[in-house]
């Protein structure tokens, strides 16, 4: 989608390995969000950012960390991936008085 890209789009990795997902925006929006989507749960907020170096936890933050060193990039890191973190991960961006705009997701499988 224009303005927001997620990478990689697909990843398969093994339990215990570190994984970093990247969200990149070209809209200069202040807010960025990471969600995970699982069957039967809808979307659940992992972490969000309200500015460079300003982040906060969401509903399901355990096992995840984030960093935002510049406006355009929001990184989600799984320090030691577990099978329960197999999911589809979505990034969203939000400008002032605008709704959230989502990327197309990263499908992550942890074996």
């Amino acid at each position: 989608d224009a303005g927001i890209t997620q990478s990689p789009r697909h990843k398969v990795t093994e339990t215990g390995t570190p994984v970093t997902l990247r969200c990149h925006q070209t809209e200069n929006h202040r807010y960025m969000y990471w969600y995970r989507q699982d069957p039967g749960h809808g979307l659940r907020l992992i972490h969000y950012s309200y500015g460079v170096k300003d982040t906060d936890k969401g509903e399901v933050s355990d096992g995840y960390s984030v960093s935002r060193s510049k406006t355009e990039d929001f990184l989600l890191t799984l320090e030691s991936a577990t099978s329960s973190q197999t999911s589809v991960y979505f990034c969203a961006i939000k400008g002032r008085d605008q709704p959230q705009h989502f990327g197309d997701g990263t499908r992550l499988s942890i074996l």
Binding site: G40, G42, L43, L45, Y48, E59, F90, A92, P99, Q100
Partner: protein, 113 residues
């Protein structure tokens, strides 16, 4: 925990019919939003209704909000096969500087040609 709960979980209708989807929530909100998700894609924003609004229209979409019952409904009129997707309601309880959405589990809509 989920704030919004959609009903029904799945809906199958014929092209041209209207589709009505409901959402209930638990706590006070600033606004309620509906999103659509096509298979394998991200969510797309459809419509936002603020807590002081009762009804809003956008093209073939009509959304209502009843804050006394903590419920909302999304009506899609004259449905098309292209409306086949999952639909999510999301509540925004933003009270300060930071906006966060809480999503329901979604409704799967199938529109038969």
């Amino acid at each position: 925990s989920q704030q919004g709960e959609e009903d029904p979980q799945a809906l199958s209708i014929q092209e041209g019919e209207n589709a009505t989807m409901n959402c209930s929530y638990k706590t006070s909100i600033n606004n309620l939003q509906w999103y659509r998700q096509n298979s394998g894609r991200g969510l797309v924003h459809l419509i936002l209704i603020r807590s002081n609004e009762r009804e809003k229209h956008s093209g073939r979409l009509r959304v209502t909000l009843d804050t006394s019952k903590k419920s909302s409904s999304l009506l899609i009129t004259a449905s098309r096969a292209a409306d086949t997707a999952s639909y999510f309601c999301a509540t925004d309880a933003w009270t300060g500087a930071n906006s966060k959405l809480t999503f329901g589990k979604g409704i799967t809509l199938s529109v038969r040609p």
